[in-house]
Structure formats: C-alpha cells, structure tokens
Amino acid sequence: MATALLAAGSAASLAAGPPTATVNTTGLAVTDDTVTVGQLHSATGTMAISETGSIQAEQLAIEQINEAGGILGRKIKIIVEDGASDWPTFAEKAKKLLVNDKVAAVFGCWTSASRKAVLPVFEKENGMLYYPTFYEGLEQSKNVIYTGQEATQQIIAGLDWMAKQKKAKTFYLIGSDYIWPRTSNKIARKHIENVLKGEVVGEEYYALGHTQFGSLINKIKLKKPDVIYAIVVGGSNVSFYKQLKAAGITGDKATLLTISVTEDEALGIGGENLVGFYSAMKYFQSLDNPNNKKFVEAFKKKYGDKAVIGDVTQAAYLGPWLWKLTVEKAGSFDIDKVAAASAGVEFKEAPEGYVRIHDSNHHLWSKLRIGQWSTDGQAKVLYESELIEPNPFPKGYQ
C-alpha cells in the first residue's frame, strides 16, 4: 500500500537524535532519521463514512509533529493500510504491519468489532495501538491506548446533568441493535434506577439500517418520557430524526439526549432536524479555547472549509501526540517501555483542553460536555464536567 513520507525538508537537515541502537532494542522500523508507524482504518466499505475523519486527523497530527522536528530527532513515516470495513481484514493487516513492517505504533480501528479483531494480534506480536472511538468499555490492554471515552465517562455525567437541569425522572432508551448501544444502555439503566432513582419507561433496539420509526414514535408519545435517550447510528440516524421532527417531537417540546451524534452525523442528519436536542461528548468543534481554535484552523486549512470535526476525529488527533510524548518520556521506541511510560502522560495542547493517560488502565482522564444542536449543524456547549476518571470495568454497572 501507499507509503508516504509526510516530511517537509530533507532528512539531512534534521537535528540528530540519540543513536538508534539505544532507542530501538527490539528491531522496530526505526532508522537514524525516520520512524515508521502504521495507520489502519476503513478507507472503503460501509465504515468509510465514519473513519475518514480519523484518518485525516491522525495524518494532520503526524504532519505537525514532523514539522516540529519529529520524535527523538526522527521523522515519522506512515504506512497506510485499509481494513475495508471487514474485521478479518483488520486482523490480517494488523499482523502485516506488526510482523512485516515492524511499525513502532499503529493508529487505527473505529468499531469495537474491528478492535476486538486486532486485539489478539497486538497482544501476541506486542504492538501498540492508539484507538480513537468512544466505546462500551469492559476492556483494557497493555497494548492499547484508548483515546476516546469509555461508556461511564460519556453516560453518567450526561444523565446527572439531565436529572439536575431538567428534573428528569423518566427515560426512554433507544438504540441500534449491537453491542455498544446495548452495553451503554445497560449502564444508563443502572444509573437511572439505582442512583437517580428515576424510571426507565421503555428500552428498545432497532436493526442497523432500520428506517421506519412510526411505531416507536407513537410509543414515545404515549409514554411521555422526560428524556429520550438515543443511541441510534448510521443510516438509521437520518430517518430517526427526520421522523421525530415530522411527528412533532422537536427540541422545543421534548428533551432528547444522544451519545451517538457528533458534528459528522449532524452533517448527514441536517441541523434543522436536530435543533434543540442534546449530545453528550467530550469534544465539540465549537469549543472555545486557544488549542481548539488552532486545531480547527489547521484542519480546515488542510481539508477544506467545509470539513467538520466530530468527537472521534479529535480523539484520533490525540493519538500521535500522546505517542510522541510517551516515547520522549520513555526515551525509547521499544513497545514495553512505551507501554510502561504511558501512565500519567499529559497532553496540555489537546483541542479538548487537557487530557492525561490514567495511571493504570490506559484510558484518558477527560471532561464531558453537553452540547445543544443548532440549525447550522454545530453544537453550543452548555455544560462542562470536571475531569472524569476512566473506569472501564465499572462496579455495580454490569
């Protein structure tokens, strides 16, 4: 596949880093002036819609790191592989990157299914994966850094806010029928029932790609929940929100909180169908801080003015930077040293503000934000939590 040297200027102009023999004792693809990493996303197939943003953000981060002098005096070269939305292909390409190409790190995967497919490969061949998507938790590995939020970080603070701000007592849980919505709703239900002392008045799942929500909408009208809690994904999203609007369930009359709509999805759904609804995410493109202004500007400069940046895209951008900081802290590209040095690594220039890798579980401390959608497909941030500790195996929520 394509190998790209995303470097400005020639290798000779680099400041010399420490000798290769000391920073690379296990035979990774590190030379005196380059280090090779892999990128493993779906550029084709049904997931390409979602993964394109991550691919772009990771390449932007690597380009910026190279412009700033690279890592330990070495420029980053990328080997791009296409998982093609097919999980066995992901596993095969992961093996190729680790065994044949000996890459020092891999930035990639998006769905949990693809991550689960490559996990045994990364553990057996001892590789390092930076995984960007918010996901259902219940996983932890020496060989993975999770730069998105695990479920409790995304769910609990959002529900608390709804209970406090909207005095919400009754919730209607809706999801697409696969592991992430089901696990997330399980956590949401426990929190609603045990902590908020509220009531779940409905919980149901629709097949991926389902487009007819008439019956569901009538049930919502009948049950009149204080909050509609939706984790609908993919093509169903557009139908779901369009039909809610057509049935008169709009932001001014009903409260809807989702953890599956970012700016990327909003582009497809259309801002006019989302106005007034809420998303719980750690990042919104509209975040008002200097780091984010710089990030959004650089992203648009590289990918066009119409480009939008969703939560996962920002999390993907963190991957290469966290890796750089960790390698510099470890003083080595060796996987074992990088894995060990990850604990406590701080990235203060993160567009989302500040993140830190947890001392023991390889997830990130991060904040949760509640954004309210407006017609232009951007969200206005109404609430920002404190830094939330990642807790991939939450007790009492399983």
């Binding site: 084709t44 049904t46 390409a48 819609i49 394109t52 029928d177 919980e203 149901e204 799942y205 629709y206 097949a207 790609g209 389902h210 487009t211 007819q212 008439g214 019956s215 569901l216 909408i217 009538n218 049930k219 009208k221 009948l222 049950k223 009149k224 093509g235 169903s236 999203n237 557009v238 139908s239 369009k242 039909q243 609007k245 057509a246 049935a247 008169g248 582009l267 497809g268 759904i269 259309g270």
Partner: protein, 307 residues
C-alpha cells in the same frame, strides 16, 4: 402507570394506523418494480436495490443543481426530479437488459450471480462518484412538517406524499398490465413465450420494455425514499431483502398478491413493533412469514399458469 384519556388513546390509535399505512406504501413502492421483473419475468435481479439508490442519487443531484443555479425553483424541483429518476433508472435498465440479462433468461442461477456482480459494480460507482458519506437532498418545505387535524394528532406530510405516490404508481402499473396492449403482450409472453412469438409478439422487445419499466419504477421508489431517509452507496442492499420478501410472500406473477403481502407485512410489523420491541417485532413478523410460506409455498396469491 400513567393514566390516559380516551382522546389521547384515540390519537395514538389514529397515528399508529397511519404508521402502518405509511410502512405499507413504502414496502409496496419498493416491491412494485420487482413485481414486474421477478414476479412477471422471473428474473432474480439482485441489483434492484441499486436502481432505487440511483433514483435517490438523481434527486440529490437535482437538489444540488437547483440550489446552486436556480434557488427560486426549490419548492417545485422535487416532482421533476422524480420523473428524471424514472427516466435515468429505466435507461440504465434498458442498457443492462441489452448487455447482460437477455443472455441469461433461462439460467436463473447465472442471473443471480450476474446481477449480484452488477450490484457491486453500481455500489462502487456510487461510492466513487458521490463519496462514501450518506447524502440527503434539500427537500422543499411543503414536504416537511406535519398535518395537525387536532391538537394531539400529527400526520407527517412526507408519509402522506409517499402514500399518494404509491397509489398513483400502483394504479398506473395496474392500468398498464391489465388495460393496455403492451401489458397484454407482456402477460401473454409470461404465460406462453413460444405461442406469443408465434402470433407475432416481439417477445425480446417485450422483455426489454418490462425490465426497463421495472427499473424505472425502482428509480421512482428510491427518489421517494429521500423524503424518509438518507442515501449511501450501499442503501440498495438495505432495501433488497424487504423487496424480495414482499414479492415472494405475495406470490409471483400477481399484482394483487404483492399489494396484499405489503399490506400484511406492514401492518404486522407496525403492530408487533408497538406491542413488542423493535427487533422483536421484526422477528415475530419474519417467523409469521416463514410459517405461512411453509403452508403456502406459492405465496398468498398465485396466478394459475399452465405449465
């Protein structure tokens, strides 16, 4: 438990009835084209869904063009776009029949593979042309929103539109099949190809027209579905299962069967979804269909054909 007033329950009943009818018209619209191609001609066209996607993309193209060049026409373009979707899909159907299908009429398994291949080619063509991201055309305002006969009843206008379109199209297909000379030729060819040829019907031409008409109707269906959902390169593969389900369940070679089958599946699904849950509703309906097809393998209505 919440208490409901009689008028509230009545409103929900009305809206639920409408949800069932709306699903019925969607299923029927999907299946109409295939009822001709598979039902009448016996061609297993696995690329049928892609013809729907083509129709949807045509609407998207028209919407983009109108927005960029003639924003004043925005409220009206949709009807014209549907007509263009019909023509585009029918022309592609003509081309496909001429270049592929006509060599495979007596080889159903090969047709299956060939049309599946065609569906992959078309999906990739959509992906290369329009990108992997799902698209939605900007619809005229009169299509959006809802009609409120009382305070608590909301009838979505796009649902009414799809329903009306289905009604018109079904009527037109019925008139064509049972009241026109071309339709007569088509039915004659289906019943006895050799005899039809012997009395001077150009059966090759009939095949081509029928296939192209079926594809054109699929294009219209796809165009109409832009009011309900988004369109992506693989939208077609989402439609295809339901489409075949309706036609097979209704019994091939029977327009009435297709209508009855779409109605039965839609009402069953909508009621099951209301009283059970989303996925379980679908499971219940599929189980029902399997049981009925075990008892009546020929489908609900099968027209008697001399073999």
């Amino acid at each position: 438990m919440l208490a409901y007033s009689a008028s509230e329950l009545w409103s929900i009943f009305i809206m639920q009835g409408f949800a069932g009818l709306s699903l019925f018209s969607v299923l029927l619209l999907m299946a109409l084209g295939l009822a001709i191609i598979f039902g009448q001609m016996g061609v297993v066209n696995l690329a049928h869904g892609e013809f729907m996607a083509l129709g949807a993309y045509v609407v998207y193209l028209c919407s983009t063009l109108v927005q960029n060049h003639a924003p004043a026409l925005q409220p009206y373009y949709f009807l014209v776009a549907i007509a263009i979707a019909f023509v585009a899909a029918a022309l592609l159907g003509l081309l496909v029949e001429w270049s592929l299908i006509r060599y495979l009429y007596r080889r159903p398994l090969d047709t299956l593979l060939a049309t599946w291949g065609l569906s992959l080619v078309l999906q990739q063509a959509f992906r290369s042309t329009f990108g992997a991201r799902e698209v939605t055309p900007t619809l005229p305002d009169w299509l959006m929103g809802s009609f409120k006969p009382t305070e608590s009843i909301d009838i979505p206008i796009n649902g009414v539109f799809v329903m009306a379109l289905t009604l018109v199209l079904t009527g037109a297909v019925w008139l064509f099949l049972y009241r026109s000379r071309a339709g007569l030729h088509m039915r004659a060819t289906v019943q006895n190809r050799a005899m039809s040829g012997a009395i001077g019907i150009n059966t090759g031409l009939v095949d081509r027209l029928a296939f192209s008409l079926g594809c054109g109707i699929a294009g219209v269906a796809g165009a109409a579905f832009t009011t309900i959902g988004s369109t992506g390169p693989d939208s077609g593969s989402r439609y295809i299962v339901d489409t075949f389900l309706v036609v097979v369940f209704g019994g091939t070679a029977s327009l009435l069967g297709t209508i009855a089958s779409a109605f039965g599946i839609a009402q069953g699904q909508s009621v099951c979804e209301f009283f059970l849950q989303g996925t379980m509703g679908k499971v219940a309906v599929l189980l029902g269909i399997v049981v009925i097809l075990m008892i009546r393998p020929q489908g609900l209505f099968a027209s008697k054909v001399r073999s």
